[in-house]
């Protein structure tokens, strides 16, 4: 499992010469993500335990962990849009 994205880099360049570079520090959301993730995993474990006790085991815990895995794998995504007079580049690092 990879760590969640650290930074989202947004670059906008216009034909008129104006350039904008946004550096979004996603890592500041990690504590919130940790809190939400912890609560979600705790809830999933309780649900799995209840389902198991009823004889209907299910992998809600694996589902929550899979969601976090998917968020971590988003690192490296890059989108470059080049339209008339404007270029936008979004990179997830």
């Amino acid at each position: 499992m990879n760590a969640p994205p650290v930074v989202v880099d947004v670059r906008v360049a216009e034909a008129a010469g104006r350039k904008v570079h946004l550096w979004l520090p996603v890592f500041v959301l990690w504590p919130l993500l940790l809190l939400v993730g912890g609560l979600a995993i705790a809830a999933a474990v309780l649900v799995d335990a209840a389902l198991f006790a009823m004889g209907r085991p299910y992998r809600f815990t694996a589902l929550v962990l899979g969601c976090f895995d998917a968020v971590g794998e988003a690192r490296g995504t890059q989108v470059l849009i080049d339209s008339k007079g404007r270029s936008v580049d979004v990179t997830v690092r």
Binding site: N2, R11, A13, A15, Y58, R59, A62, L63, G66, C67, D69, A70, G72, E73, A74, R75, G76, T77, Q78, V79, L80, I81, D82, S83, K84, G85, S87, D89, T91
Partner: protein, 141 residues
């Protein structure tokens, strides 16, 4: 729009070059235009190892170009998630997909199937040339 790009598009519009030739010229222009463009993959005939990224490139004659680079790990994680969807929800999804003409049962997708699918994507390339000169290319490397 840069002068070179406008010149290439006008040549396509005037019919002096084909859409395919224009697409190749625009691709060559893009690789030199910005530092932030996605890195070109290594030569595919000699590549070894599993593919790491899926590239989607759209070249439009109207001057709107899109380059997307998606980590295949994200695709892999998404496919793994589909096998964890609750059975009740999976039934509804399968019903809707079958109604759309796609009878794929994600519940039976195993880990080894996912790895084999990702590995086989290395040889996949989709190249679409539309009537109005737009080009869409999807490949993994």
């Amino acid at each position: 729009m840069s002068e070179d790009r406008a010149r290439i598009l006008s040549l396509i519009a005037e019919g002096k070059i084909t859409a395919e030739e224009g697409s190749r010229l625009l691709d060559a222009l893009e690789t030199h235009r910005t530092q932030a463009a996605p890195a070109e993959p290594p030569a595919r005939s000699g590549s070894t190892g599993a593919p790491k990224f899926m590239y989607v490139k759209v070249v439009s004659t109207k001057g709107d170009n899109v380059n997307v680079k998606i980590p295949l790990g994200l695709v892999r994680a998404g496919l793994k998630l589909t096998s964890l969807i609750p059975p009740q929800a999976m039934e509804q999804i399968n019903t809707q997909m079958a109604a759309s003409g796609m009878s794929i049962d994600f519940a039976n997708l195993k880990q080894e199937d996912i790895e084999e699918l990702i590995e086989s994507l290395r040889e996949m390339e989709v190249n679409v040339d539309s009537k109005n000169g737009d080009n869409v290319r999807v490949y993994c490397a």
